[in-house]
């Protein structure tokens, strides 16, 4: 490390020695202050000129009498500036009408959209903040074509699942790579602990955690760029295959200091409430089932098990609890942000602070975030600029269980004839009481995140820029949990404390050379990057407290501890050449060589090349006659390779792990390693067309892609005789094919009226192409459930027996065997012994784990000071296997469940034609079948905003705006009523087991009003 630091020092010294020369220098930026690279600068009346570098800097020598510089750049208004003896100039160029000329952040650089031959979606700040979300990545939904967004729950600050162009992995992490101002940020849950396992509380294992990305205040973001095709992602090599999201935070601009204050407050409610039976209905059906099961009706109250915890028949008869209402509430939120930005031609700054306080729709959930940011950059000399982007965020998240552990997930386990409280005021049946499981638990996740990057930019000679950047991401978290004695079946309170730290740093050095040679433009980038990541976790569990005021592990009867320590590193070399000829023929070649400690010794290094070409037909002379109509027509093609290195840290090693007995140190086989284990490789072809019509009134992009992922990382099931269940291995191939369309139109644009619309749609088809020569058919991953991977089908499919409806004569379910024969349960038992044996022999691949179409529609209408925005998102083609309905079916037998109301349609008499079999006391066949699959297509009004903004005449405000917005307010869906929300069906789980979930939870819809003041 010392060696490296001293080298940085040498660089600084060397750079200082360049401060020589008598040129006029300066910088060129767009109207938003973003640097413009590649701007042509000519001394007026001569052919002498230069271009701006990667940071929009330039320097040029003037001859005697040469006083005027001409700045020109495709897509921008040409600017002529008199030098007037100044040695430094700051030039702002205004965008010409076309938006295709916006500057797009690419990995390790920027490019003008017009000259881009890869596939990158950009979402700017305005659109990003339309939907008041605690984490920014949710805003990608419906905005960036081909980006599928699934909120894991409406719990404040919980994780969001994102798939770009489908999922290109089997079991490795498939979230995109997030790069914030050049620093890779680990996404996923902050909490390093698995609270459920440690508290010996299985249910809590499924509890959500705080989303690491929610540390970023969305208000600080200037733009999001989503890199989609291989030409764009290959520069991120072994970590690019899931797509890359580049986050650029706001920077200060030269000129007057600006203050921006935004305050909003809102209330929220569930998007939908699932309807369960009420007390009367429950008793009616329960007694019918009791009778159908051959029991004496007179024994119902005594023997059916509905009277528990001292409840009497009389109490049950007069109780009608709506458990949903017990655990859901009207949420409220307050969000305040303030930023101060400004600067002069040497120094620019942006300082902000944000506060968010939210009580969600879940009783007991309270989330608070305080975030700060300071971005600063300073021109030390004309050709040397330094800067830093610093962020600190504190999150205090009091969260609640929403799944098996309790809360809304536990509603189904509480009968409507059960009261919430006993007559003495204590919780009735606390171990499964949905409200008790919330109120008698404290779950508090606290985290502090620091994200910083420091950079140095030095223009060495004309066109050659050196950039050195160090990024640091520190996260410390403290998760506390307490679970009251009343909640555990053993009658002991438990508490857990987990303290974790994550440290990751990256250090990169880049050289960039840009040059215009007549009609040739070249832009060459080379660089090296080192990254290291470390995570430590200390966990303490206390089991057994003699007094309920004691809630920290230290006070417990039994104390257990665990410790985790992992580390990984990447060393990478990267290069890129962008070339264009005559602004017409575009070429980009990218390559990255990645080494990682995660890969087996024999596969430590990977090479990830990509190339793209573009042809701007509209620049051809023969196009001239129609160019006034078709302003731009560009064809793009790219092909390349990127990887997914999210394979765990030491999966390639065979290791023995601790397994003590009676206080003696023991070990057992923990992992069978594969020293050839490597990254998943994705090769992607992208063909695209970009066009712009009628002076930019219609702008469109169309992309077709074909992604082939090979060496899928799988927990491949091996024989248990080996001592383990699975071995991590690279195996098989998967494909994602699809297209994306985005279309933006300016329908009306007059002095007073502006009406714009934007439409995105994407179709993706995921398919497992092969599982290698040794596997025929499919793989069933060990564990509970029916998760399977089958050739020719999407990843995440299920393997279930086929349900064939209800027999009208008996009211029993019918199932299909593989020959297509309909069998009743008694026939199945006679033939196969058990339903399990039948299922093993007669299951079929079933379900649509992923939507076929996703997209969004946005319309913005402005009239004088008023504006009106409406934004819809949609998804079509996925279906969902409802665990709630499966539970409902056996509500009266093995589980005590309050079923969904659809059970009211049960079969009752011979001849009844219905799709709900008769209710019975018979034992459960707790197996998923095709019966429980339902479509979950939806169109949702994600946002509707009405606002008014004006500039007061006499006050010192620049503008004052007020607005009101409806979020998630209307949803049109074909999803079954028992599904809480069609948009959220699966939570933030991986790619397997997609189609079936139990114990899900609703999303929130909200009404928000806000005030925005600019000084």
């Amino acid at each position: 490390m010392i060696k490296k630091l001293s080298l940085i020092g040498i660089t600084l010294c060397l750079s200082l020695s360049f401060l020589v020369g008598q040129s006029v220098s300066g910088s060129v930026s767009d109207q938003n202050g973003a640097s413009l690279p590649g701007v042509n600068i000519l001394i007026k009346g001569t052919s002498t000129g230069t271009i701006t570098d990667i940071d929009g800097k330039f320097a040029i020598d003037l001859g005697t009498g040469q006083e005027v510089l001409v700045f020109s750049f495709t897509g921008f208004e040409t600017v002529e500036v008199g030098v007037d003896g100044r040695s430094e100039l700051t030039i702002n160029m205004l965008v010409a009408a076309s938006q295709l000329n916006e500057v797009v952040i690419t990995g390790y650089g920027t490019q003008i959209r017009k000259n881009l031959s890869s596939s990158i979606s950009k979402i700017d700040a305005g659109k990003l903040n339309r939907v008041p979300a605690s984490s920014f990545e949710g805003a990608l939904q419906g905005r960036a074509a081909g980006v599928q967004v699934v909120n894991s729950s409406a719990v404040s600050g919980s994780a969001i699942k994102i798939r770009i162009r489908g999922t290109s992995s089997a079991s490795a992490n498939s979230e995109p790579l997030y790069v914030i101002d050049g620093v890779v940020m680990e996404s996923g849950a902050i909490s390093a602990s698995n609270p459920g396992a440690e508290l010996r509380d299985f249910s809590l294992q499924l509890a959500h955690n705080t989303n690491a990305l929610s540390s970023i205040n969305p208000n600080d973001i200037e733009s999001l760029e989503v890199l989609k095709d291989a030409a764009a992602t290959a520069i991120y090599g072994a970590r690019g295959a899931n797509g890359v999201v580049l986050i650029t935070t706001k920077k200060g601009k030269s000129g007057k200091t600006k203050i921006d204050l935004d305050v909003q407050t809102g209330i929220s409610e569930p998007t939908h409430k699932v309807e369960y039976l009420n007390g009367k209905e429950y008793l009616f059906l329960a007694q019918e089932a009791w009778y159908n099961g051959g029991n004496d009706p007179l024994d119902f109250w005594k023997a059916s098990g509905v009277l528990i915890d001292g409840l009497t028949k009389e109490q049950a008869l007069r109780t009608n609890t709506d458990w949903v209402d017990q655990v859901l509430q009207r949420g409220q939120s307050l969000n305040a942000n303030m930023s101060v930005s400004g600067g002069n031609d040497r120094t620019r700054f942006y300082v902000s602070g944000g506060f968010r306080d939210e009580e969600s729709i879940f009783v007991g959930n309270d989330y608070r975030r305080i975030s700060t940011r300071m971005n600063i950059d300073h021109n030390v000399f004309d050709n040397i600029r330094i800067g830093a982007n610093l962020m600190y965020t504190n999150i205090d998240d009091k969260t609640v269980p929403i799944n098996w552990a309790g809360g809304v997930g536990n509603v189904i386990s509480n009968l409507p004839i059960w009261p919430v409280y006993k007559e003495d005021g204590t919780f009735f049946n606390p171990t499964t009481n949905a409200l008790a499981s919330v109120e008698l638990r404290d779950i508090n996740f606290k985290s502090n995140t620091f994200l910083g990057s420091w950079h140095l930019n030095a223009s060495i000679v004309e066109g050659l820029v050196f950039r050195s950047e160090y990024g640091l991401n520190l996260l410390s978290n403290h998760d506390r949990q307490y679970s009251d004695a009343l909640l555990s079946t053993e009658g002991r309170a438990r508490a857990s404390s987990t303290i974790g730290t994550r440290t990751s740093w990256n250090f990169k050095n880049l050289l960039n050379y840009t040059k215009n040679l007549g009609k040739h433009y070249i832009d060459i980038l080379g660089g090296v990057e080192m990254q290291k990541f470390n995570r430590n976790v200390n966990n303490l569990i206390g089991d057994g407290f003699f007094n309920s005021t004691l809630r920290t592990p230290q006070d417990a009867a039994n104390l257990r501890s665990s410790f985790g320590d992992v580390e990984y590193a990447f060393l990478s070399y990267l290069g890129r050449l962008n070339y264009n000829y005559d602004d017409k023929y575009l070429l980009s070649v990218t390559a990255r060589r990645d080494g990682s400690s995660r890969f087996g010794k024999n596969r430590r290094w990977g090479f990830f090349p990509a190339a793209s070409v573009g042809y701007i037909l509209s620049e051809e002379p023969f196009f001239e006659p129609i160019k006034r109509t078709v302003n731009l027509l560009k064809f793009r093609a790219s092909y390349g390779r990127s990887g997914n290195a999210e394979i765990g840290n030491f999966a390639y090693l065979s290791t023995y792990s601790q397994s003590n007995y009676d206080n003696n140190s023991g070990v057992v086989l923990g992992n069978i390693g594969d020293d050839k284990l490597g990254w998943e490789t994705t090769d992607q072809l992208n063909l695209g067309v970009s066009m712009e019509l009628f002076n930019g009134r219609i702008r469109g992009e169309f992309d077709y892609y074909d992604k082939q992922t090979s060496d899928l990382l799988l927990p491949f099931p091996v024989s248990r005789l080996t001592g383990v269940n699975t071995v991590q291995t690279n195996l098989g191939e998967m494909s994602n094919k699809g297209f994306e369309i985005s279309l933006t139109t300016t329908n009306i644009s007059t002095k007073d009226i502006l009406w714009e619309t934007e439409f995105t749609v994407a179709r993706n088809e995921n398919k497992v192409v092969s599982l290698g020569p040794n596997v025929s058919g499919g793989i069933q991953i060990p564990g509970f459930g029916t998760t399977s991977i089958f050739e020719g089908h999407p990843i995440g499919i299920t393997f279930v027996p086929q349900w064939a409806g209800v027999d009208p004569a008996t009211g029993d379910d019918k199932y299909l065997d593989l020959e297509g024969n309909e069998l009743l349960m008694r026939q199945i038992l006679a033939q196969f012994g058990s339903f399990g044996n039948f299922a093993t022999a007669n299951s079929v691949v079933y379900g649509e784990p992923w939507p076929k179409f996703t997209g969004g529609f946005d319309s913005r209408f402005a009239y004088k000071n008023w504006y009106f925005d409406v934004f819809f998102t949609f998804a079509q083609g996925a279906n969902f296997n409802s665990g709630e309905l499966l539970s409902s079916k056996y509500a009266f037998s093995s589980s005590t469940i309050n079923p969904h109301r659809h059970l009211l349609n049960r079969w009752r008499n011979p001849g009844d034609v219905t799709d709900v079999s008769r209710v019975d006391k018979a034992p459960t066949i707790f197996t998923r079948t095709t019966e429980y699959f339902y479509d979950v297509d939806f169109i949702r009004m994600k946002d509707l905003t009405v606002g008014y903004s004006f500039t007061p005449d006499k006050l010192f405000f620049e503008s004052i705006g007020i607005y009101a917005k409806l979020t998630n307010f209307f949803t049109w869906t074909n999803a079954h009523n028992s599904i809480w929300d069609p948009e959220f069906v699966g939570g933030n789980s991986g790619n397997l087991n997609q189609t079936g979930f139990w114990r899900t939870s609703p999303q929130a819809k909200s009404v928000t009003v806000g005030l925005n003041v600019k000084f």
């Binding site: 660089t11 360049f18 396992a197 010996r200 098990g305 528990i308 915890d309 049946n429 060495i460 000679v461 050196f466 079946t489 053993e490 050289l511 080379g526 090296v528 080192m530 320590d565 992992v566 580390e567 990984y568 590193a569 060393l571 070399y573 080494g595 400690s597 430590r604 840290n649 030491f650 065979s654 290791t655 023995y656 601790q658 397994s659 003590n660 007995y661 009676d662 003696n664 023991g666 070990v667 057992v668 086989l669 069978i672 024989s719 248990r720 005789l721 080996t722 001592g723 383990v724 069933q780 060990p782 509970f784 012994g833 058990s834 399990g836 044996n837 093993t840 005590t896 034992p923 707790f926």
Partner: protein, 444 residues
Amino acid sequence: MKKALLILSFFFVITSCGEDFLDISPAIGLSEDKLTDIPSMQALIFGAYNQSRAFVQYTNVMSSTMMRDAVIRRNVNYLPFFAHQIPNTFTSNMFERGYATLNTLNTVSNANVRDMPGTDADKNKILGDMHFLRALVYFDLNNYFTLHSTGNSVPLVLSPIGVNDRLSVSSSEEIKNQIESDIEEARTLLALSAGVADYEIATALAARIYFFHKKYDKAYEYANEIINSGNYSLEKEVTGPFDNPAGSSEVIFGIKFNATEVSNPSNINFNAYQPVDNEGFASLNTMSLIATLRSADPEDKRHGDLYTETDNLIYADGKYPTDQMDYIFIRYAEMYLTRAESNIMNNNAVNDQDIADINEIKNRAGASGVITGLPSAVATLDIIFNERSKELCFERGDRYLNTRRLEKDIINENGQGGTAFSQYADLLAFPFPVNEVRIHGLSR
């Protein structure tokens, strides 16, 4: 340009940063190549004992439910056991955990322990424990996975196998031979040097093994040896061993409770039987043999002290009073019943010692019908069957093993009449995990 070159050279100096930057080893855990010495072998033995806890944890609830001694009030995982529609889920866990334990033991078996530097005492106890635990695991695997009609059982694996190895099933007889050979070897080695198990524990397990292998001469010899050793005694109260297994004179071998882990047999059993309707899920089947015997002799403390009766339900909670106790694997009382029955089987006649053995158990429980005189062998065997059922029900599957050994009927699901051994024998063979069938083509 010169300066530019300087920068460029700097650039490349940085890039030549060594690849050792990528050499990161796990901070936690042991790599395979370190398993070469006696301390590592000892650690594997402790690891295997730990694994055995998860292997045995469900046996009791599954088997008591299959015997229909217990009814399942509301647990979707166990209900099919009552209906004799044995599902894959839990039985797969048992298979998996058994073989995980065996893999650890076979790693020791395959290592040249004898050639490693170390004392003979250490080597004897390591190998003794290895053989003992391997016998224990194969004994239960063989009991639950043998298909009666073909006599085929699980694959016999005696060394660590690789992911590409393919095996087929072994006959139950082959497995039995291995179990007997292992337990004899364990007795020999543990006599020289005690490990986790010792000579007497191995001898007591051997008595059980031979008893259920119907080799009554050996069963008698070993049970007799334990009783004559004078090292164990019955507790005064029937609840004695269960209240404090770790300190009880009656407990010959208990698998240790580990507060730091999730898989504790006591946790599973406590949760199943605990006397709270909506928290536990298994209670005494009021139509079962156990319930019938209970009604017939309410004064028997094994009924009064080990069950909790409420208006609707009888909870079989007495043997698992807490979720934090050792799992009793061999209890001295079993030795009396084994010795008595083995002796009768060997001699086809009853003697005073046999009656004394039975009365020892009855008297401690305060049961009625203390035997006087010498009943016939057939009558005595019936008495022993009932005594064994009362004494050892809800303990690690003894009722299941004994019922199968004697090919007795099992009460029907509806409580009326019984199902003959020939009808249930194959139904109760645990299915192999689907993946094992797929990978090895296992077929019984």
